[in-house]
């Protein structure tokens, strides 16, 4: 790995790419804000989620489970299970970003799909850091501003069902899942997990079907070896 100073042109290119992805991703915080308020969270709770949790799929999961009548505990557990993928991103990023101490503690908050995708392919530590910080900071700022706008807008709208916002949550999950469905094993996992969850809906408390579907990942992961080409977080949304 080369650690030579970054060529100014290369640096500019990485910053431009990071800003592009950051702006595209950050703005969809609007949908999160609107959906979360529709699910019954207060504006403050919605904004606290974006500030503290700051990982989109987990945030949507928490409010989705709550909206479906699940307990806060099952919502939190689902969010956590989805958040485990950020641990894997961190493992790959650690040697590349090469930060320690306070910088690492601060950088950890920015470890999400997009910042990982925009830095993990870079050839050197300086290039990876520029990609990671540009993408991560842009998204953090925009995501939180957009969440507030969406939450205030959602509150002004009133009953979310009138505007189909309850249908928006399913669409958001599908859009997050979509890039991964190009892989055959992922498609099988997704179909089986959806079937298990729907099968459990009549017999279990809300929130349980989704948590139980993680068992499908355990089973298929244990029985079906091989690599997944779509494993890297998708940037192009």
């Amino acid at each position: 790995m080369s650690n030579a100073a970054l060529d100014p042109r290369e640096r500019k290119g990485i910053i431009r790419d990071g800003l592009g992805v950051g702006i595209a991703t950050g703005t969809y915080g609007i949908s999160f804000g609107a959906v979360a308020v529709g699910a019954g969270l207060s504006v403050a709770q919605t904004c606290a989620l974006s500030l503290l949790m700051f990982t989109g799929a987990s945030q949507f999961a928490l409010v989705g489970v709550l909206a479906a009548g699940g307990t806060p505990l099952s919502g939190a557990l689902t969010a956590l299970l989805l958040g485990t993928r950020n641990t894997l991103y961190g493992l790959r990023l650690a040697p590349l970003l090469d930060w320690s101490g306070a910088r690492r503690v601060a950088a950890a908050h920015l470890v999400i799909d997009e910042s990982t995708a925009m830095s993990v392919t870079r050839p050197s530590t300086p290039a990876a850091r520029v990609g990671f910080l540009t993408t991560g900071i842009t998204i953090f700022v925009l995501w939180n501003v957009a969440t507030l706008i969406g939450a205030l807008g959602g509150r002004a709208l009133g009953d979310p069902r009138t505007y189909g916002l309850d249908a928006a949550v399913g669409a958001a999950f599908l859009a997050l899942l979509w890039p991964r469905l190009r892989d055959r094993r992922n498609r099988a996992t997704a179909l089986a997990a959806a079937a298990v969850a729907l099968g459990l809906v009549p017999f279990t408390a809300a929130g349980v079907p989704v948590l139980a579907s993680a068992g499908v990942a355990l089973l298929i992961g244990a029985l079906w070896p091989g690599r997944d080409k779509t494993e890297w977080p998708e940037v192009d949304r």
């Binding site: 928490l62 930060w99 809906v201 079907p209 997944d228």
Partner: protein, 99 residues
């Protein structure tokens, strides 16, 4: 109770990120663990789609949300951006409820 879930899950999600940057890579460097960890989001997101769209309490129903999901599929096939997919599905579901 919701505040408790928001704060606890928020802090825990941060710690999961920090753990990845902090623990030695070999701790989780097992193909089976990597594969399962990689499949968990796929399973959970698919289950969330299913429950979000077809569950109503403990009943399974096909209503305006399913039509909204159909619209989302078409928009995704047309490579529409995230916000267009999400709000497109909402608009379609709202229109179905009106008619």
């Amino acid at each position: 109770m919701i505040w408790w879930a928001v704060l606890a899950a928020g802090v825990a999600c941060y710690l999961l990120k920090l753990a990845g940057l902090s623990v030695p890579a070999r701790v989780l460097e097992h193909p089976l663990i990597e594969r399962i960890a990689d499949l968990i989001p796929v399973a959970l997101l698919a289950a969330l789609v299913a429950v979000q769209v077809f569950a109503s309490g403990t009943a399974l129903v096909v209503d305006a949300r399913a039509v909204g999901l159909g619209a989302a599929v078409l928009l995704l096939l047309a490579r529409a951006p995230f916000l267009v997919v999400v709000f497109g599905a909402a608009v379609v579901a709202a229109v179905v409820r009106l008619v």
